[in-house]
Symmetry: C2
Subunit: 247 residues, 2 copies
DNA sequence: GAGTCGTTTAGTGTCTGACAGTCCGACATA
DNA sequence: TATGTCGGACTGTCAGACACTAAACGACTC
């Protein structure tokens, strides 16, 4: 016979506190933006010490369920994607993903993004998309800035799809590719006109709600990027940390 | 003139502790699997109190960089994807993603997975894939179990691609779709033979390293699933929490 | 020697209590 | 209305303590 033994998980006090608060956030007892009571009060409510509450809060903070604009303010907030993307890309980096891996995925997500964006973009978004494109076109020398705005360009298209799943799935990939772009950029100055052309076509196709065309051009665009990576012989290398993270 | 004021960010002690340990993990000073000194010792090393160290450790624990099999053992570990996927799917759920969103993404990720799996699957993996398929085929009544094994089936294919980016990107999506599957399953019993057929073709194509065929069948398979969702009129609804999370 | 069984002990989880620095909100002032 | 001042509340950090448990250790059997 087989004895089914589920691991008895001991519930530590700080865990219970975190779970309880989390539950109240999920079921709507506490609404996003609302302030939480002070640690002292929380401690009294849960019948534990402030230290215990603190450890629980720290966990919620890491989960992105509460936010501390200043040490004094502790407010509930729905978890954004920021924390997730940075963690995801960090994990990918540590797992040793290669540019090839990133490219293979981008090769399907980016065209999809373009396609869906063409279907769902709003008029105000069109204006902004064109603005980003214009800003990108204006740069001719600072390749690092080019890669930065380019990443922004793609992210904006993804957001225009209104598909959060796609947004979340591609964001970490995009972040890592950005680093790759920054690495190959100096070598790829020659490809700039070609990139600009692709971008123009993508923007126009999306704004014209031509999903097929948008997808096609995006596909081409990503492929170009891949060729640049290959020229730099980076296919199987791992994205590196960027030197600085200043604005 | 423009006065540039970057927000002064105070580095709290527990943050510094966490950062320092994290840095030592990243640069390889501490290797995965190794044990960390006790809290008391760490406190002495960093010149802070145990409480402070604790808060820092809690953060690393949440990040998945250290692991506590029991309260006594504190060991370094490379962050797995488990914590990320559960967090990601939770976030998606709270953002109110619909089955349509999930399907749109799966429609590109799953065929890609099949394609790459066909290229990269190893012989031992073929055996296991067939085993999962057989296990799935044997079930005829328990639709909930079907959806569970089906999820496993797809995840296994994704792992066979050896592309960690794809694995990580699709896992949360798969998790949420699983819930959807569990919801429509009772209604979709009729579609079971069709699903079995698709699975068979997918398995054979992958094992024969026929990437195109694998992609095609996977595409068809996902489309079938979408039709089931439509029949249940769930396209724009949000995946619900499953009743229980036993074994 | 390998495996089993107590015993010891180090280390965690939690608590009490405290203090300095700081931020918030309100009040007063112009 | 906008600015200066002030008290109070609250956080981050500290020191020290205690119960309880799991890991390490040694004793004991085969």
């Amino acid at each position: 016979m087989s004895l089914r033994g589920r691991p008895v998980r001991v519930k530590f006090a700080y865990q219970q506190v975190a779970d309880e608060i989390q539950k109240q956030i999920f079921d709507g007892s506490i609404k996003p933006g609302e302030r939480l009571p002070g640690e002292h009060e929380l401690a009294e409510m849960f019948g534990v010490t402030r230290s215990t509450v603190r450890e629980g809060l720290r966990q919620l903070e890491n989960d992105g369920l509460v936010h501390r604009p200043s040490p004094r303010r502790l407010e509930v907030c729905l978890p954004g994607t920021d924390a997730l993307t940075s963690r995801a890309s960090r994990t990918m980096m540590m797992m040793g993903v290669t540019f090839r891996d990133l490219w293979q995925v981008s090769m399907v997500t980016e065209p999809l993004a373009a396609e869906l964006a063409a279907q769902n973009i709003t008029d105000p978004e069109k204006v902004e998309l064109r603005a980003i494109h214009a800003r990108l076109s204006a740069i001719t020398d600072d390749m690092l800035l080019v890669s930065k705005i380019d990443t922004q360009f793609h992210s904006f298209i993804a957001e225009a799809t209104k598909n959060r799943v796609l947004t979340m799935a591609r964001e970490p990939v995009s972040m890592l590719l950005y680093r790759g772009f920054a690495q190959v950029a100096p070598l790829a100055k020659i490809a700039l006109p070609r990139q600009a052309e692709a971008h123009t076509h993508i923007v126009e196709a999306i704004c014209a709600h031509d999903a097929d065309l948008a997808r096609t051009w995006m596909r081409r665009h990503i492929n170009d990027f891949w060729k640049a990576i290959q020229n730099a012989n980076l296919q199987d290398s791992v994205p590196a940390e960027l030197p600085s993270e200043d604005e």
